[in-house]
Subunit: 197 residues, 2 copies
């Protein structure tokens, strides 16, 4: 890998491929926490500090602020896909992981809204692509007789509905409201948790 | 009424009380249309022009941009209250008027979200007050055995859920999605229309 100069003029420390993967994962996990606490405008230096790496390492993985945010969103979607790929997966479990991310991240909720925007001018292509990946992961486990299988749009309309219910200052309150929303929809949801393999 | 100078140095034309009420209503109706077409950043001059009054008249009624937007939101809520006060009102009809405003106005949806924010720092007091007026208007017609009467929060959670489903570039698409959302909730909704007395 070619060494590039950083914004502050230093060169990044060398990382082996394993350390690189570990650092990238630590940066995404740290960014997720920092965003949840302070919003998307939090300084990148806080993310590097939380991840226990230098800012040089952060810049090697992510050229700018948007790249960090996108990586977090992509990781949310990947967790939902992994939940769907687990050997004993069912729709309730996958919805539980989806719901956890809805209660964690307003930015992720914007991504899910891209679905209903139907090519609306201003909907970023990456958001639409991520939303479609979420839909595929859910649909893979949607039984034909499921409450949300009657009409083609129902599944993602329901996801948008739960997003609309997820408000409140604490994650606990947002989770309580999300679970009330699924109850009102008559849809069973498994444990609300991140997917940890 | 004391005549005041306007930002542009002119004095407003004199309005009798009837003309004043008529002009105010025309300005609010024009602002509603212009906001739906161009968003809240539309110039005030466009609103005055659409209402068929001079900018001086607009400034006499509304000191600034925020006052116009607030008046439109207040008028949305008043329509819902009027629908609830109609002699033959029932919950389905009031929900139909509410749903019309949800499909019309993203700003109105933000107001409804104030409910779930539960005193979250940054929720404007006016939004919370308007949201509570909507809740009172609905609750007045909510039968004890209604699907949304089981738990105290269910009614406004459901309203937030429908708001979450209302996306799309056209009002027709947003209405279609709103009606799908009420169907998924198992809640009957009357005609989706503004309240016109």
């Amino acid at each position: 890998m070619t060494q590039q100069s950083l914004p502050d003029g230093r060169r990044p420390a060398n990382e082996g491929p394993r350390a690189a993967a570990r650092n990238r994962a630590a940066l995404i996990a740290a960014a997720r926490e920092i965003y949840a606490e302070s919003g998307l405008e939090a300084p990148l230096s806080a993310i590097a500090r939380r991840a226990g790496v230098g800012q040089g390492v952060l810049y090697r993985h992510f050229p700018d602020r948007a790249a960090v945010a996108l990586a977090v969103l992509e990781e949310n979607v990947r967790q939902i896909e992994q939940a769907a790929a687990a050997p004993d997966a069912d729709i309730a479990q996958v919805l539980g992981v989806l719901t956890w991310h809805q209660t964690e991240s307003a930015a992720f909720i914007s991504v899910l809204h891209a679905d209903g925007a139907g090519g609306h001018h201003g909907t970023p292509a990456f958001a639409l692509a991520l939303s479609q990946r979420v839909e595929r992961a859910l649909r893979r486990h949607l039984p034909d007789d499921h409450r949300l299988a009657a009409e083609p749009d129902d599944l993602m309309i329901a996801v948008g509905m739960v997003s609309g219910a997820v408000t409140g200052p604490t994650r606990e309150q947002r989770e309580r409201r999300a679970l009330a929303a699924w109850r009102l929809l008559g849809v069973e949801v498994g444990p609300v948790r991140p997917f940890e393999g």
